[in-house]
């Protein structure tokens, strides 16, 4: 009897955490095949954690407000890129350059986030697809600014940033004078593994902020709005505004995260850095066991570790198995999309199941009553 319930518990656990478990399995299989040394792997993962966690954390707030996965975080990334392009052209280097870029990204993020929030309020119930399309739409506007307005309208001086034709920004903007300044400021080496302490400290502060934020009035309102918009409205909470704030916060944080990400990378791929960032962050979060309506800081950390382990080892493992390195490349892209697809499907079917479950229970109760009568 006791064993049975224990078995059931395990089954339940597997059922609820199928995605992370699947990833653990993939990693366990792929790591030995790839033949990477432990120190190399750990080094890579630590670097990627420092690079990505901040970005992924910004997804938590819209989930809290019931707006699902914020594909519009790309907007924050664009804001950060605009800021970094300007800062780079002004030749502000090092830590001051990074700080300036963060501050500069705030107004951009606020404008973009407000726009996104307002549109999402007009498309309640299909926030995700809408935020996804917004990211494409804004990509167009971003290109308009970067490709045509930077130069003639927004002054850009330096030829290492500007296209030779006289306007527009190059495909790739070098951030050599900011590269890993943040990571290296207080870096500690433990057994050949470089730990970017300052970056982790900043991440830690953000985690504390999110924990604290949940306990504020605004955080409470967001949770209320996320669970039942109508009840929240009846209680006098300004639902629309709360939703917009959650998106703006997410966008601003995404902007900071993108600055951290890019200072680690050391250059901006002007027209593509942002376009995939949303997808990878969301995939990582989901791998960590989050769902469309529930995500925690733990999911973020676990997700980054699992997702990026897969990301590092998949190409090599793929090459080892099939003899073609591209297989692994495609495999990891497939896995990223696949995991998002799977999570979305699980979420939607669960929503439906819980509905029909209520019906079944009622029917059963009536049946019982009938039998009694």
């Amino acid at each position: 009897m006791k064993n049975e319930s224990f078995g059931k518990k395990i089954l339940n656990f597997i059922g609820n955490n199928s995605v992370p478990i699947l990833f653990v399995l993939i990693c366990v299989i792929c790591i030995p095949i790839s033949g990477f040394s432990a120190s190399y792997l750990i080094n890579e993962i630590v670097t990627r954690m420092g690079r990505n966690i901040f970005l992924i954390l910004c997804l938590l707030i819209p989930i809290m407000a019931g707006m699902g996965l914020n594909f519009g975080m790309t907007l924050g990334a664009m804001a950060a890129e605009l800021a970094l392009i300007l800062v780079s052209d002004w030749q502000i280097w090092g830590i001051p350059g990074i700080v300036l870029a963060m501050i500069l990204s705030i107004p951009f993020s606020i404008v973009l986030g407000t726009f996104c929030g307002k549109i999402l309020n007009m498309a309640k119930g299909r926030e995700m697809i809408t935020s996804y399309i917004i990211s494409f739409f804004m990509n167009g506007i971003y290109q308009l600014i970067v490709l045509y307005m930077m130069g003639p309208i927004i002054p850009i001086k330096h030829s290492n940033v500007k296209l030779p034709r006289g306007y527009g920004i190059r495909n790739s903007v070098d951030l050599i004078h900011m590269r890993q300044y943040l990571d290296n400021l207080i870096a500690v080496r433990i057994g050949g593994v470089k730990i970017p302490v300052l970056t982790f400290l900043i991440i830690g502060v953000l985690c504390l902020f999110i924990i604290w934020f949940r306990k504020t009035k605004l955080g409470q309102d967001m949770r209320a709005v996320g669970q039942d918009m109508n009840v929240a409205r009846d209680a006098g909470i300004n639902v629309e505004r709360t939703r917009i704030i959650s998106i703006v916060m997410s966008t601003v944080l995404a902007g900071f995260g993108m600055v951290i990400y890019l200072q680690n990378m050391g250059n901006i791929a002007t027209y593509s850095s942002h376009s995939q960032i949303g997808m990878f962050c969301i995939a990582a979060l989901l791998v960590g066991g989050a769902s469309v309506d529930r995500a925690s800081i733990g999911n973020v950390f676990l997700g980054v570790i699992l997702f990026h382990t897969m990301f590092i080892v998949a190409p090599k493992a793929g090459a080892m198995i099939t003899g073609d390195s591209m297989i692994g490349e495609y495999f990891r892209v497939f896995i990223s999309y696949g995991v998002i697809t799977l999570s979305l499907i699980l979420y939607e079917t669960k929503k439906r199941k819980s509905k029909s479950l209520v019906g079944q229970q009622l029917a059963q109760a009536q049946k019982d009553e009938e039998e009694k009568a």
Partner: protein, 157 residues
């Protein structure tokens, strides 16, 4: 009362951010300093370069210049400190000394003529702006557009 108070706080916060941003713009300004160990003619006088100059910035050697050579270092901020190890003639004694230069904020690249500087000439004599020669190939860079991304765009993450 409460509203004005909050407004004050908000304005304060924005001002603080703006102030930080401004500070960053000042202290974070990056410069590239070029060291010319070349002959300088100024006021009808000629200043000969020493045989060899070794330049240290922040304790690290950035250039070892024979006569007629140019070296380069990057720095953040306007207070530039360098250490020069000078060998006047081949095989001669080396002197080591620290120099402070105040860089102009507006210039990206600054050329410092070492013989002129060491001779204690006025600033305009030994300092000049570095103007990069555009050697860009004029080919247009391929700029991706729209919603057609290629595999490369997926990039490394």
């Amino acid at each position: 009362m409460n509203k004005t108070r909050r407004l004050l706080f908000q304005i304060g916060a924005v001002l603080i951010l703006a102030a930080i941003a401004f500070c960053m713009m000042v202290i974070g300004r990056g410069h590239t300093v070029y060291f010319d160990n070349k002959i300088l003619e100024y006021d009808d006088e000629t200043y000969e370069p020493p045989y060899k100059v070794t330049v240290y910035v922040g304790g690290e050697q950035v250039a070892k210049l024979n006569a007629k050579e140019r070296g380069m270092a990057t720095t953040i901020g306007q207070d530039f400190e360098m250490e020069l190890k000078i060998m006047e003639v081949k095989g001669g004694d080396e002197t080591r000394e620290t120099y402070q230069i105040k860089l102009p904020r507006t210039l990206d690249g600054i050329v410092v003529n070492l013989p002129g500087y060491l001779a204690g000439l006025p600033e305009e004599a030994w300092m000049s702006e570095f103007v990069p020669i555009v050697t860009e190939s004029s080919e247009e860079e391929e700029v991706p557009g729209g919603d057609e991304f290629e595999m490369e765009d997926l990039g490394d993450f």
